[in-house]
């Protein structure tokens, strides 16, 4: 029999955990109680032992991935240990048995989550309870539609005959509070039959993480974005000259390593941009390391690995590191270690397309630099119109930390370095 072991709530109300290390592999025979995986949660870093003996047939999630409580961790074929296991097993109609792993989660975390301990807190809930218990009149079609749209039909006010809930009622209904999902314990949304207007697909772990981080950044910081342009003909000449030397070492030289180098050097002179704010303790936290996170586009979604101590690396070493991290990202081999401790982020969206952008800060960092598409465009030089090579820059900053003047001074310094790279050498 197949047994799916879901990630349990091991710490009083946990929502998720991050996989730090797998101790088992596919096809391995394991004993009950044997450690499967090392997980990091909000409360503890701990080993998760297997509740069953058998053979591992599936592992869900790779190192660095987030697994939500109640979602599968491993699938175990317990047949191998049938002699030991089945004796106490009650016959199951389904072949796949889900581990009852979500302990500590209340059936309904809504209104009933906290019952008053004394008369002081006694509530007016007779009405709300009645409202909930009332069963709506509706046709099967309307019920199916409500299910599809995840609307609790019993909460919709019906306008049809005898107060029946109509299709229009459901379409125009907007729940006051997060609706049925809480009650229904996440019914899986399956792709619908062809011809339907919408298709539902479950979110991947990586998409969930991105969504959470983006929202957190936008809600926790005061974003502002500054646009600039820099003429980089001189840098292009240098790159052209070095390209072959690098190619001999099997490294493709792009502009990005130069931008990383220039950024690090500019950061050293503008500490607030390499910092974070700690409002809880009323203090600034200045970072003495220069760990540059690089946004990498992968088929699964955005990942942001980190070049550690970029200030101690040469252009060549930075180029190598970027190549290494992008490769790892593409093959989903990034570890937690590759992703953590970034102090400032660079996103090179222009390599795909786009001139200016308003990049979202990689919270809790203070800033992110966006590099746009390199433009061959007319510029004015010595009062003459000539052809220039212009690199667009978009710098998003946390305005709580960095004032406008500092932002401008930082980007000026960056322009200086990129337009005349020799300056970087003398500092």
């Amino acid at each position: 029999m197949r047994y799916i072991f879901n990630f349990p709530d091991i710490g009083e109300g946990l929502e998720e955990g991050t996989i730090l290390e797998w101790y088992v592999s596919k096809g391995q025979l394991i004993k009950a109680g044997q450690p499967l995986v090392n997980m990091e949660t909000d409360k503890v870093v701990t080993d998760i032992p297997s509740p069953r003996a058998g053979i591992i047939v599936e592992m869900f999630g790779e190192v660095g991935e987030i697994v939500h409580v109640g979602k599968p961790l491993v699938e175990i074929e317990t047949e191998a240990e049938a002699a030991v296991e089945t004796t106490t097993e009650t016959p199951k109609t389904m072949l796949i048995e889900e581990g009852a792993a979500v302990m500590g989660t209340m059936e309904l975390a809504g209104d009933n989550a906290a019952l008053p301990a004394s008369n002081e807190g006694a509530r007016k809930d007779t009405e709300s309870e009645e409202a909930v218990v009332r069963k709506a009149l509706a046709t099967p079609l309307a019920r199916a539609m409500a299910r599809e749209m995840k609307v609790d039909i019993n909460k919709v006010t019906g306008t049809g005959p005898s107060g029946r809930v109509t299709k229009e009622d459901i379409q125009s209904y907007s729940p006051a509070s997060p609706p049925t999902e809480i009650v229904e314990q996440a019914e899986p949304a399956l792709p619908t039959a062809s011809g339907d207007l919408t298709t539902y697909e479950p979110l991947s772990q990586i998409r969930k993480a991105i969504a959470k981080n983006m929202l957190n950044s936008k809600q926790s910081t005061a974003h502002m974005t500054l646009f600039e342009e820099v003429e980089i003909s001189e840098l292009m000449r240098i790159r052209e000259k070095l390209k072959k030397t690098f190619a001999d070492k099997n490294v493709k030289l792009t502009y990005l390593p130069f931008v990383v180098k220039a950024t690090v050097q500019a950061l050293k002179q503008h500490r607030p941009l390499n910092s974070q704010i700690d409002l809880e303790h009323d203090r600034m936290v200045y970072k003495n390391r220069y760990n540059i996170a690089i946004a990498v586009d992968t088929p699964e979604g955005l990942v942001v690995p980190v070049i550690k101590d970029a200030d101690k690396l040469s252009i060549l070493q930075i180029a190598q590191k970027i190549a290494e991290l992008s490769d790892k990202a593409r093959y989903r081999k990034l570890t937690m270690d590759d992703m953590k401790d970034g102090t400032f982020t660079i996103t090179n969206y222009g390599s795909i397309g786009g001139i200016f952008a308003t990049p979202v800060i990689n919270y809790p960092q203070a800033g992110i630099l966006g590099i746009g598409r390199l433009l061959k465009t007319p510029i004015v030089k010595d009062d003459q119109i000539v052809i220039g090579n212009v690199l667009p820059l978009s710098l998003s900053l946390d305005h709580r930390i960095v004032d406008g003047g500092d932002a401008s001074r930082f980007i000026n310094r960056l322009r200086e370095y990129l337009s005349d790279p020799a300056i970087m050498l003398i500092e």
Partner: protein
């Protein structure tokens, strides 16, 4: 009285064997036969095995939050050997070994930590109060029980337990104050395992130790090496005789170390160092007693096999707990009051409504 020789005001500590199992205090060594010593060691081993399995079940998502006992087994084994059937055990929540000695089963322990009220219904254990999670309140209960024993002129002794953090609670002082006034037959044990969750003892009190607090209440107090089975045994024996003879209450500070986490929701690496843990590892009560036994030619037969047997037996008990019928709504409300207060009546009615709504929803 031995308590007089180890004055907590001079920060003296009762210790009989060292970390290598060598006898430091020959004249204090209790006269116990080999069989009894082996029994004590096995009790510690069983407690440790059961404790580790409980943590594993919790990590498998099959049980709720659990407070590990790892490292504190010598205190439990010593108390377990002195406490009689008619004596009262008033636990906090880290007294697994004493509960087992009183006849509480692992099945009941597992049921308790699975949220079932039946886990507090100890079928084979007499005079054991339920596990007490609010810090310190059990000391007051113990004083009350002690008073009733004295009032009814019964031959019973009460064994309440508390942690080092609990000594900062008002309940601790209130209980000990009346214990002194009323001269109740109660042996109060502080399991000083160095941390109240993450708060170290030095942030807990300005007293030189915890046993010295007995002085203020006018009762004997003693600081004992809680990882030395023999020292704990001697302290309990003497305290028991003293209390039973009608002299009144006694306070024992058992100095130990919580090797595990506060509970399965706690991560001790956040507030203590590896070095500190390694230092305390040297005092671990199990290897320490085993060394004593070996030094004296007493052998534990096939310990590995013994542990396997324990594991099988404990796993069976866990299966029983896991397959126990889910508790009824009445269990949540039924056992506290003879006449249920209005607010609870309403809660119960509300929950029934909710259940009915859930049924209708299907």
């Amino acid at each position: 009285m031995i308590f007089n020789d180890f004055n907590p005001q001079e920060d003296k500590i009762l210790r009989i064997i060292d970390n290598d199992g060598n006898v430091l205090n020959k004249e204090l060594l209790p006269d116990l036969d080999n069989e009894t010593l082996i029994k004590a060691y096995k009790a510690m081993l069983y407690t440790r095995t059961a404790d580790q399995m409980a943590v594993s079940y919790q990590r498998q998502g099959r049980m709720y939050t659990f407070p590990p006992n790892l490292g504190q087994e010598a205190i439990h084994a010593a108390a377990g050997m002195i406490i009689r059937e008619e004596d009262w055990l008033v636990p906090a929540f880290r007294e697994l070994g004493v509960m087992l000695a009183k006849g509480v089963t692992m099945k009941e322990i597992f049921l308790y930590y699975s949220g079932s009220e039946h886990g507090s219904n100890f079928k084979q254990a007499n005079h054991v109060l339920p596990i007490c999670v609010p810090i310190g309140s059990q000391f007051l209960h113990a004083t009350g029980i002690g008073y009733s024993i004295k009032y009814q002129k019964k031959d019973e002794v009460v064994f309440p337990f508390i942690g080092d953090g609990g000594t900062s609670e008002g309940d601790f002082s209130e209980a000990l104050n009346f214990a002194g006034v009323w001269k109740v037959p109660v042996i109060y044990t502080i399991q000083n395992n160095q941390y109240a969750i993450s708060v170290p003892v030095k942030s807990q009190t300005n007293s030189i130790n915890l046993a010295v607090k007995a002085v203020a209440f006018g009762i004997p107090g003693i600081k004992v090496d809680g990882n030395d089975f023999f020292a704990m045994y001697v302290a309990y024996k003497e305290a028991f005789d003293y209390a039973r003879a009608g002299n009144g209450a006694v306070l024992i500070e058992a100095l130990t170390y919580r090797k595990g986490a506060h509970t399965t929701s706690d991560d001790p690496t956040k507030y203590r160092t590896k070095e500190e843990e390694q230092e305390w590892d040297k005092t671990d009560p199990l290897p320490r007693m085993k060394k004593y036994l070996e030094n004296n030619g007493i052998r534990i037969e096939e310990e590995e096999k013994l542990i396997e047997e324990y594991k099988l037996e404990i796993d069976n008990q866990f299966s029983e707990a896991e397959n126990f019928p889910p508790y009824e709504l009445d269990d949540v409300f039924g056992y506290m009051y003879t006449d249920m207060p209005e607010i609870l009546e309403k809660q119960k009615a509300d929950y029934k409504l909710f259940q009915r709504w859930k049924e209708n929803r299907k």
